[in-house]
């Protein structure tokens, strides 16, 4: 299992701020996790549509599609940051 977190507009699009999911089979990465999320329905395919700008952090460090995901990891999805 991994913990998923969603922030800001992406949180509003998927309608969820936190979730626990089983990892996809094989050697899961952020990419395979996102593929699995897209299949959850319209809100999810919209949030992660091609060309949609989103960021991902694994265990609170910025990551990318190729980053491996392991059991127990915290994977957070969010739009580009706008603080300051």
């Amino acid at each position: 299992m991994v913990t998923l977190l969603f922030f800001a507009s992406l949180r509003e699009t998927v309608g969820l701020s936190r979730d626990q999911v089983a990892l996809p089979a094989g050697t899961p990465t952020v990419a395979s996790l996102v593929d699995a999320l897209r299949s959850r329905g319209e809100r999810w395919s919209e949030a992660f549509a091609p060309g949609k700008s989103w960021r991902v952090a694994v265990n609170q460090r910025m990551a990318d599609l190729a980053t491996p995901v392991r059991p127990g990891d915290e994977v957070a999805f969010f739009p580009p940051v706008t603080g300051g």
């Binding site: 800001a8 910025m62 957070a76 940051v81 706008t82 603080g83 300051g84």
Partner: protein
């Protein structure tokens, strides 16, 4: 080396900057920046905003940015304070302070920290406008400002 705080409440600029120099005799330069909520942005009237963040990652991202600044310039001390939650126009959002022996380094490091904070620290602004809530879009000009510190 670096004082980082994320908090809902306001901060006292004078007191926070004082921490960087009090009792020291080697600080020649103290550069600082305060960001505030404006009542207009991108042509929208702003009644207020809510700052969302990613607890835990926010603090470590800010600490990492300060550590990069300390590695890059000869700094004595730094402070970053960022507010979260609901804010109204005129409210302070963020304070960055940098103490160094010389002004060139203090100014550069202060700008660097702001540029990196704007593009790398997990905060998101949702503005309240007469047309409803509006998530602020990331700015290309902020990306460009951060890019200039590379190379």
């Amino acid at each position: 080396m670096a004082h980082v705080r994320v908090q809902a409440g306001d901060f006292d600029v004078g007191r926070e900057l004082d921490v960087l120099t009090r009792g020291r005799r080697d600080v020649g330069a103290l550069a600082s920046f305060v960001g505030l909520v404006r009542d207009a942005n991108d042509g929208h009237a702003i009644q207020g905003m809510t700052l969302e963040h990613y607890p835990g990652m926010t603090e470590s991202a800010l600490e990492d940015i300060c550590a990069q600044a300390h590695a890059r310039w000869d700094l004595i001390d730094t402070v970053v304070i960022h507010r979260v939650g609901p804010l109204v126009p005129g409210d302070r959002i963020v304070l960055v302070g940098v103490a160094s022996a010389h002004r060139g380094e203090a100014f550069e490091a202060c700008e660097f920290i702001m540029d990196y904070l704007k593009t790398r620290a997990p905060f998101w602004k949702k503005e309240d406008t007469p047309e409803g809530g509006r998530w602020v879009d990331a700015r290309e000009s902020d990306d460009a400002a951060a890019e200039r510190w590379k190379g």
